[in-house]
Amino acid sequence: MNSRSGISYFTDEHDLFRQTFRDFLEKEVKPHIDEWEKAGELPRSIYKKFGEMGFFGMTHEEKYGGSAGDMWYNVIFDEELARMNSGGFSASIGAHPMLAMTHLNHEGTEEQKQRYLVPGIKGEKVGCLAITERFGGSDVQAIRTTAVKDGDDYILNGSKTFITNGVLSDFLIIVAKTAPELKAKGISLFIVDRESDGLSATALDKLGWRASDTGEIAMDNVRVPASNLLGHENHGFFYIMQHFVSERLAMANGGVATSAYAMEVTLKYMNEREAFGRKINKFQVLRHHIAQMASEIEMNRQFCYSLYDRYQNGDYLVKEASMAKLVCTQMADRVVTQCLQMFGGYGFMEEYPMARMFRDTRLGQIGGGTSEILCEIISKIMIDKEGYQAPN
């Protein structure tokens, strides 16, 4: 919970929501995490419960079933998910509202919103966002999936990988080239229903994020009606770039939240565990590790909050959001590794919280733009003075 002294971005309403949501998670989620981790997927029922409680609609308009809250509700949502200590759960639950529905909300037509966003907010339909391909990685411009116009339809061919909810979702927002010769300017987004002919998916076995299904998707002449084009044709790259900022901020703050949770459970353990006749929280070396980590967490948390604040005010933050994801996910790796080490042998045991956190956290520097890609973007802005300006 965040201190209310001095500057606070959170109101009493935010805090109330945080408490409600935390109680809900403790009751409806925490007891099932181990089982979902084992299953490698989430049951539909949990999406429905989220939907019933309104947790998918916090920032959406009331006419679609949302409660029109501000962006800090998303921040709280992410922070509280992190306390479940299941990157897979957070990813599966989060990819639906944060990735799929974000695009629907911004670029969808009224008809598309009625068909996908409304049931999405209710938790009755689950979505995913499919950008990445085997060849290309974080290089969005290099995608090879094509969508060729055929009468009133588009025919999609190609494949996607590393797609969270890629196997179990009901609909997929798929990125494809509608004009390959135009490179970045020839990319479009499509809403594809799961039952479409020619669409298949297989789940991947991963180091962590085990409660989420991460899919590889193949499209063999998948026919999509033109009414399922999302936004304007050939504007896809800009839509993606635009939402990258919020995605990166979420991953950055997720890194902070994970780090804070790692420290919380570690402090608790250190206060219980004894060695050489005293509690291990009395050992200077371990204490200084805590002091160092706490300071870095606090710094990065304030960085993220200040960026959310600016984001809400409409600032264009490609550079800063990339910076934040870079440093916060690096910090999370350091903090989680160090905290695991504090648990000694128990750190390696799956019955204690750090083993899973260690496996899950490692994705931070990989997903949503690797650290190396972020460095490329940041150095282009800092050194080559490239603008990465907002599209108009």
Binding site: S5, G6, I7, L267, M270, N271, N281, R287, H288, I290, A291, Q292, A294, S295, E296, E298, M299, N300, Q302, F303, Y305, S306, L307, D309, R310, E320, S322, M323, A324, L326, V327, C328, E372, L374, C375, E376, I377, I378, S379, M382, I383, D384
Partner: protein, 387 residues
């Protein structure tokens, strides 16, 4: 970022201060670094221009401006690339005067603060002792009562402006052992028994860093600053702003290193191209810029909290801890990016690195900060404001 914390007025102030510094300070820095001190005349100019006491009350000659003017002030001062210069002004205006403004009587303010803000009477703050390091509670300089006077014996070290200042705001032991026996006193330089010697340092060359000895120094008890035996709490109180100031200095130094490096990279050619095309160097800039940007957001936020009256002892310690580590790292990596020129004193990076490397030591070493932070986090100890 600026829009959140800075107004148009801050920006105007920045411009005028920058113009002043570029004209009256920058051309003299090399000389002052070689002299190992700055001249009295520059204090006077700061006083005349109103730059000595940006946030101090107008009543005493300050400008009565808000905290973010002092942030602007520090950011511009650091661009002169001489921690010694910045400290010579700062040890007077930011340390000695902070105590006098905070705890001084009206008489003391008239005597020290007003001429101090005019740049005519220069002070220093003397806490650290040779034997104790950062262990303030164990200060052993003794002030024995003798009627309405104190007789002071002991020594202080690592004191900025320790040799050249007109007076010394010193922590002395008036009571029993431990934190509760300390008081602050103002000792005029000319008082018999005060002597000082200059120390040679790795960096901060333009500042006069002294070791001060008190040999039966007799001062009237009207020179007591604030209440007797409350010195420890006064010191702690001012530590938060001092540490926050050091954090801001650290972030500003790191930013200066990056700015200098980026400029240099665009000009320097090896293997037939400018070095800003080498991916390894580009990513280094990207990484370090990101860390500095994060650190600055943190420091700005703390200034905001501080300006709204929050007692941010933990956060200030955290900020000093991480930013001074960061500054050392950034200055080191950027120095290396200049190749052999990085090591040459005729280029800016050597001094910047040398100057930065006091950051994790002065004003509480990183280890002492870790002790404070871990006490607050692990043992849930709270440090309270005195007032």
């Amino acid at each position: 970022m600026n829009k959140i914390f800075f107004t148009e007025e801050h920006e105007l102030f920045r411009q005028s201060l920058r113009a002043f510094l570029n004209k009256e300070v920058r051309p003299n820095i090399e000389q002052w670094e070689a002299d190992e001190e700055i001249p009295r005349s520059i204090y006077k100019r700061f006083g005349e221009m109103g730059f000595m006491g940006v946030t101090y009350p107008e009543k005493y000659g300050g400008m009565g401006l808000d905290t973010f003017f002092s942030v602007v002030y520090t950011e511009e001062m650091i661009k002169m690339n001489s921690s010694g210069f910045n400290t010579s002004i700062g040890a007077h205006a930011g340390l000695a005067l902070a105590h006098i403004n905070g705890e001084g009587s009206e008489d003391q303010k008239q005597n020290y603060l007003t001429p101090g803000l005019a740049g005519k009477r220069i002070g220093c703050l003397a806490i650290t002792e040779p034997s104790g390091g950062s262990d303030v509670a164990s200060i052993s300089t003794k002030a024995s009562r003798d009627g309405d006077h104190f007789i002071i014996n002991g020594s202080k070290t690592f004191i900025s402006n320790g040799v050249l200042s007109d007076y010394i705001v010193a922590a002395v032991r008036t009571g029993g052992p431990g934190a509760k026996g300390l008081s602050m006193v103002i000792i005029d330089r000319e008082t018999p028994g005060v002597s000082a010697t200059k120390l040679k340092k790795m960096g901060w060359h333009a500042s006069d860093t002294g070791e001060i000895a008190f040999d039966n120094v007799r001062i009237p008890d009207s020179q007591l600053l604030g209440e007797e035996n409350k010195g420890f709490f006064y010191i702690m109180q001012h530590f938060a702003s001092e540490r926050l100031g050091m954090a801001l200095i650290a972030v500003s130094q790191a930013q200066l290193a990056l700015d200098l490096a980026i400029d240099y990279m665009a000009e320097r050619e090896v293997f037939g191209r400018t070095i800003d095309k080498f991916q390894v160097l580009r990513h280094r800039i990207a990484q370090l810029s990101s860390e500095v940007t994060s650190a600055r957001a943190f420091v700005y936020l703390l200034y905001k909290q501080y300006s709204e009256g929050d007692y941010i002892i933990k956060e200030a310690a955290m900020a000093k801890l991480v930013t001074t580590q960061l500054s050392d790292k950034v200055c080191y990596e950027c120095m290396r990016l200049f190749g052999g020129y990085g090591y040459m004193e005729s280029y800016p990076m050597a001094r910047l690195l040398r100057d930065s490397q006091l950051g994790t030591i002065g004003g509480g070493t990183s280890e002492v900060l870790c002790e404070i932070i871990s006490k607050m986090i692990i043992d849930t100890k709270e440090y309270k404001a005195v007032i």
